[in-house]
Amino acid sequence: MAENTNSVQNELDYHKKKKKEEMKQQVITFALMIVFTIIAFTMVAAGLDKLFVIPIIVVLAIVQVIFQLYYFMHMSHKGHELPAIMMYGGISVAFLTILTFLVLIWW
């Protein structure tokens, strides 16, 4: 009986720890996203060279989307493999299309 209670207690601790871990990750990503946004706005406000600013903003935006999907929309959890495949499939088709239009038509 004592053992049984112990294992329940262990399970509870494990879940608590996992939840805490997740919360920590969410807070960190949230902070990072705010920092990214501040960086983006400051760069524009500082009037740096466009060729320098635009790629960085695009990269920051992509990172933020990934954060959003994986930490806030729980794509990192189990059972999201298929939506992930479909999303990457769609993204790669869209990317190819845009790339074609950029390099083959409006060269």
């Binding site: 298929l82 479909m86 499939g89 769609g90 790669s92 088709v93 190819l96 299309t97 074609t100 239009f101 390099v103 083959l104 038509i105």
Partner: protein, 618 residues
């Protein structure tokens, strides 16, 4: 029961039943009938083309009319015949193969069908309303943007409506296969036809939006004065070609992959062996789907994309021969050492292998970009794509119909007539198209309505036309077969072929709810696993319980009818602004039906377990 039987005998009741049905089996039959109807229309157009080309400088049809039948032959055969016939097989079989009681969205399944049908009817209405589209099935701008009359407008609106139906159907099958598999039916236990349906649905999801966008741009160019494809207004006509082929190339894989799936079901069944290299087959299917998106510009080698782009697309195209080759060898190894039984379904499947290999070989030839400058726009290309589409897709549909006919209609198609169909069609097909390779190499261009005498083209074209008549005879014999079987055929058991997959575990006729108890799947070829252990039926995965089924609805028909009416409004509003009224009425009907669907709760009905033994839902 007697009252329900009496109710069902009336013609009006049957008609109403089919207009409102959300049952995947009945929608499969609707797809089969309408796809078959358009196949006959497309076939008539093909006959007109071949009669026109039977001798030099023939005047069976005029040049303008030739352009129309040529365009409509391609468009009808791809969008209105091959696609729905494949959807017919998918609807009839896929839910049964995965142990489901219906598709994930039965209402959408019905909507997808009616949108396709009304789109097809709108397109074909153009014959009676001042001329059909005449800019080729690819509708290249600026030919399509400047084509006079309303033909191309019918093409745009018709395909837009039926394309929406296809997209809906594709999404439906994706969700069905992801979510509705029976317990134990893991991805690597899916029958190969279901796997190909899955990959094809993903291709539909990603490819059809490109067509939708392209058609919208074309619609605005033609009907609302924009200039996306008009160089004078700063547009670029090459954009259409890219959009069309970003859709169009995956489209040909959308057609051929389910046919591959059919052969992968037929060959193991009649060779009494499990499919050789199942994992490799699945991998090859996914790889073909993946590569299908990276090769579209091989249709555009002569546009002038430059050597770098041409080389990339040439290499990517040739790469597709690798997974396809894997499949061909796996089919051959499935047959190797098998206890082979030859019947009509098997004849179509066996003849597919060499026929498709020929088409694949000319495909690799065409993929060589430098050589393509020689082949481009000649009959060599025509021969190539008829070898893969007729030799692959049509053979696959015939094989699938012979194989699954007892599942769909409870009777086996007449074998003698089936074999007559096969041999006349098979010989006719090769007579028609094999010679066209050489006509093309001799320089006969595509799409021309006449050719001149004494240029070495006379005999070849004559032979080709004779072959086309043989194919027509084969098709007519198949129709006779359907009538004979329906009226005189004997009812068979639920498993007439000693099948391997779940759809043969169901009694004949298939009950409304498919499976009384959801089956437990214990391996690849689920029914065969049970048979090897001496059982006749599947092990149930659940106790007998009430069965939840969706309600029938007329709304999908009304929504599609609304878009059909609005389509005419869009086409004619450029002549007379009062036609906008038809747009408002049509869209009002559609949106109204959507509103009704949204606010009215429709939770389906239950078949109670007490009634199951009394034959409810049969």
């Amino acid at each position: 029961m007697s009252t329900t039987t009496a109710q069902r005998t009336g013609f009006g009741a049957v008609l109403w039943d089919y207009l409102t049905t959300v049952d995947h089996k009945k929608i499969g039959i609707l797809y089969l009938i309408s796809g078959g109807f358009f196949f006959l229309i497309g076939g008539l157009e093909a006959m007109a083309i071949r009669i026109q080309l039977i001798k030099p400088e023939n005047d069976f049809v005029s040049a303008g009319f030739y352009n129309e039948i040529l365009t409509m032959h391609g468009t009808t055969m791809i969008f209105l015949a091959a696609m729905p016939l494949i959807f017919a097989l998918m609807n009839a079989v896929v839910p049964l193969q995965i142990g489901a009681r219906d598709v994930a969205f039965p209402f959408l399944n019905s909507l997808g069908f009616w949108l396709f049908l009304f789109g097809g009817l709108l397109l074909n209405a153009s014959w009676f309303l001042g001329g059909a589209p005449d800019a080729g099935w690819t509708a290249y701008a600026p030919l399509s943007t400047t084509s006079p009359g309303h033909g191309v407008d019918f093409y745009i609106l018709g395909l837009q409506i039926s394309g929406a139906g296809t997209l809906i159907a594709g999404i439906n099958f994706l969700v069905t296969i992801v979510n509705m598999r029976a317990p134990g039916m893991t991805y690597m236990r899916l029958p190969l036809f279901t796997w190909t349906t899955f990959v094809v649905s993903a291709l539909i999801l990603f490819a059809f939006p490109a067509l939708t966008v392209g058609l919208f741009l074309l619609m605005f160019d033609r009907l609302f004065g924009s200039g996306f494809f008009n160089a004078n207004m700063g547009g670029n006509s090459v954009i259409w070609e890219h959009l069309f082929w970003i859709f169009g190339h995956p489209e040909v894989y959308i057609l051929i992959l389910p046919a591959f799936g059919v052969f992968s079901e037929v060959l193991p069944t009649f060779a009494k062996k499990r499919l050789f290299g199942y994992t490799a087959m699945v991998f090859a299917t996914v790889l073909i789907g993946f590569l299908g998106f990276m090769v579209w510009a091989h249709h555009m080698f002569t546009v002038g994309l430059g050597p770098a782009a041409n080389s990339i697309f040439a290499v990517a195209t040739m790469a597709i021969a690798v997974p396809t080759g894997i499949k061909i060898f796996n089919w051959l190894f499935t047959l190797w050492g098998g206890n082979i039984q030859i019947n009509s379904a098997m004849l179509w499947s066996l003849s597919f292998i060499p026929t498709f290999t020929l088409g694949g070989m000319t495909g690799v030839m065409l993929a060589a970009a430098a050589a393509d400058y020689q082949y481009h726009d000649t009959y060599f290309v025509v021969a190539h794509f008829h070898y893969v589409i007729v030799g692959g897709v049509v053979f696959g549909i015939f094989a699938g119909l012979h194989y699954w006919w007892p599942r769909m209609f409870g009777k086996i198609l007449n074998e003698t007539l089936g074999k007559i169909t096969f041999w006349t069609f098979f010989i006719g097909f090769h007579l028609t198209f094999f010679i066209q390779h050489f006509l093309g190499l001799m320089g006969m261009p595509r799409r021309y309505w006449v050719f001149l005498a004494d240029q070495g083209l006379d005999t070849g074209n004559f032979i080709s036309t004779i072959g086309a008549f043989l194919m027509a005879v084969g098709t007519i014999v198949f129709l006779i077969n359907v009538i004979v079987t329906t009226s005189k055929g004997e009812k068979v058991s639920g498993d007439p072929w000693d099948g391997r997959t779940l759809e043969w575990a169901i009694p004949n006729p298939t009950p409304h709810y498919n499976f009384k108890q959801t089956p437990l799947v214990r391996g690849l070829d689920a029914l065969w696993v049970e048979k090897t252990e001496g059982r006749k039926e599947m092990t149930p995965a659940e106790p007998l319980d009430d069965i939840h089924m969706p309600n029938a609805s007329i709304l999908p028909f009304i929504m599609s009818l609304g878009l059909f009416i609005a389509g005419f409004g869009f086409i004619y509003q450029i002549d007379n602004i009062s036609w906008l009224l038809a747009v408002f009425i049509g869209m009002g009907i559609t949106l109204g039906a959507m509103f009704v669907r949204s606010v009215k709760d429709d939770l389906g009905h239950h078949i109670h377990k007490e009634d199951l033994d009394k034959g409810a839902g049969l």
